[in-house]
Amino acid sequence: MNQHIEAAQLDGQTITAGSAAPCAARFEAVTKDYRLDKVKVRALTEVSCTILAGTTTFITGPSGSGKSTFLNILGLVDRPDAGRLELFGADVTGLGDAAAADFRARNIGFIFQSFNLIPVLSLRENVEFPLLRQPMSGRARRDRAAAYLEAVGLGGLMDRRPGEISGGQRQRVAVARALAPEPRLIVADEPTANLDTRTSREIVALLARMQAEFNTTVVICTHETQLIPPHSPVIEIIDGRVV
């Protein structure tokens, strides 16, 4: 299903970093400052790391450590002030707004802490929504949305609205929505923060299963370390530095 990875490997454009697996993302001395009123706050300090393709990588750290900033830069919704970012072998550091949007549409899926589903759309329409950026017919979009909802176990609730289902189900829809455009990378920011422990484990398990099934790269930011399966790649960020 994930043709991007195959294409990238065939082109020989993937970068490996100390592993046989291709490199999904490479941070090189990435620094990011924020302005809080008149005070400049450093969120990331010369962060360098590599995320391997086809893995589920966890980003951990205490609140305010810079996890979300790391994820925002990885997801191309924010830009580093200094340093360099490579995604699937392409230097994306200086992409303009439109080019970054196009890159995100083709390569990156997002899962948010509070699901961020569009309330006026049905579950199927929510999953279908990001496919509007794909060159697909309406019917193909609907079919693919239905297939991904089936994959996350919500095939029977397609016509419901987000307000009519539970938090866990909403996050499943968000997972389906992130997967539907078949991106190379899925970025999940605290996807379990609003869920109870049991549902949180289900969502993490679902993400792991989907990652394996669709051979995509998943990066999950979480402060709930108990949810991280053993032997998973983990990047820990404290005070804006990778430790």
Binding site: N72, G75, V77, D78, D97, A98, A101, D102, F103, R104, A105, R106, I108, F110, F112, S114, N116, I118, P119, V120, L121, E125, E128, F129, P130, L132, R133
Partner: protein, 464 residues
């Protein structure tokens, strides 16, 4: 999908959407009704004027500029020859409804019985032609003119005077005119005006008019004195058939409408002259083409005459319509401003409420333009609903008003017109107003939409 989201968001915020659509609808309704009224003025006042003057008038060159000072020098020398030239043209045969001469004259009018005399402004017309002109309804608005009051017999000696003229001559009672009271000093007890007596006596010497001055018909007698083209004083005696109000008080106090042959006998002494030739056209929208053709024919015939649109001769209509068009423009501008503020406010609120959704959409890879289209579509739909509301209310209310038969008298008219709010009768105008509402709804949303599209994605996602 954009329209689906837009529509569902409007439904979701139903109260706000209805309020905004109502503001647009009421603004549009006001514009439609006022525009419908201005449209009715456009057609109604023009119809009244065309019924009286024709669409076109032919004058001798220079008359409009200098004729008032020396009318005798600017008369049409042979009106029949000019009409024959026009009538002979096959292309114009189907276009022209009425073509008829008119003599404009002035002089002194006197009534021997009351001893009153007064200067008059007169028009000599072919009564049958004028009666036909009064029936003209080129735009099918159902506004037939009032009867002229003149008998259609060309040899008739009856005239119609203005209401003010009747009052000043002291003939209201004799004519049994409602709302017309003779001046207290007028009447049988008053000493006769010596000048009136003088030219009444002149007429009395004419054997043919003796019966009239004797008052054999029971109608008030009127003596009209004017100078002929040679400058010789001439006088005729006629009977007053009716008194009819005129639009302007000064004219009402001096107006005399008399048969063409009587006017001709009074000022032209039987020569084939006329002041103007009035041309009424079947299709008013063909006026310019007919005018050009007439001008060509007159030029080819070597006649020193020109055709004018009635608005060129008398700017009253242009001024009246200009005034109402200006009022309409001002009211529309105010309404547009209200609509703009309402929409701006609504979209701004919507944007604030949906900042997180905007961030999510942008994160999913949609460009700023998509976010803009999302909100503009919502505004366009609101504008459409408002426009539909305005149209429905406009049609309903205009029908109610039109069926009530309310009347008003425009500044140019002596008689009232029935108020007709022409909303659907002028589809171009109605469609323009509706389009204007939608466009203004979209334009009003541009700034808040632009701001929404420019929102920082990270900050948007952190909201709420």
């Amino acid at each position: 999908m954009i329209w689906k989201i837009a529509f569902r968001n409007l439904v979701k915020n139903a109260r706000r959407s209805v309020t905004t659509a109502l503001a647009i609808g009421v603004g549009g309704l006001a514009a439609l009704l006022l525009g419908g009224f201005v449209t009715s003025i456009w057609y109604g006042v023009q119809t009244s004027m065309i019924q009286d003057q024709g669409n076109l008038q032919i004058y001798r060159n220079g008359y409009l500029e200098f004729g008032a000072a020396n009318p005798e020098a600017y008369t049409i020398p042979d009106w029949q020859a000019a009409i024959d030239v026009i009538r002979a043209d096959a292309a114009l045969a189907a276009e022209i409804a009425v073509i008829t001469p008119r003599i404009d004259l002035s002089g002194v009018a006197g009534n021997a019985a009351t001893g009153n005399s007064k200067t008059f402004i007169g028009q000599g017309v072919v009564a049958a032609d004028l009666a036909k002109m009064r029936q003209w309804d080129g735009w099918n608005i159902g506004e037939a003119g009032l009867p002229t009051g003149l008998p259609e017999d060309p040899a008739s000696e009856e005239v119609v005077v203005g209401l003010g003229m009747a009052r000043m001559l002291g003939v209201c009672e004799a004519l049994a005119v409602p709302d017309c009271k003779d001046a207290p000093e007028a009447g049988a007890g008053r000493e006769a005006d010596p000048s009136a007596a003088e030219y009444t006596g002149l007429v009395a010497g004419d054997a043919d008019l003796a019966g009239i001055t004797a008052g054999g018909t029971g109608q008030p007698q009127l003596n009209l004195m004017a100078a002929t083209t040679e400058g010789v004083p001439n006088i005729i005696a006629v009977r007053i058939a009716a008194a009819k109000a005129q639009a302007v008080r000064a004219l009402d106090n001096a107006f005399v409408l008399l048969p063409f042959d009587q006017a001709r006998a009074l000022v032209f002494d039987g020569s084939p002259e006329a002041t103007t030739i009035m041309v009424q056209i079947q299709d008013p929208d063909r006026a310019d083409a007919v005018k050009a053709r007439i001008q060509t024919l007159l030029g080819e015939a070597g006649m020193d005459l020109s055709a004018y649109h009635f608005t060129e001769v008398d700017p009253t209509f242009t001024r009246i319509f200009g005034m109402f068009a200006f009022i309409f423009a001002v009211v529309s501008a105010v309404l547009a401003l209200v609509i703009v503020f309402t929409i701006f406010n609504t979209v701004s609120m919507t944007v604030v409420e949906r900042v997180k959704e905007i961030g999510t959409i942008r994160a999913m890879g949609f460009r700023r333009g998509f976010v803009g289209r999302l909100f503009l579509a919502e505004s366009a739909l609101t504008g459409l609903f408002g426009a539909a509301l305005a149209l429905a209310l406009g049609v309903g209310l205009s029908r109610m008003v039109n069926s009530a038969g309310v009347q008003w008298t425009p500044p140019s008219n002596a008689t009232p017109l029935t108020v007709r709010l022409m909303v659907l009768e002028n589809p171009t105008f109605a469609i323009s107003v509706l389009l204007f509402l939608v466009v203004i709804a979209v334009l009003a949303a541009v700034l808040p939409t632009f701001r929404a599209a420019r929102l920082n994605i990270v900050q948007s996602l952190q909201r709420g």
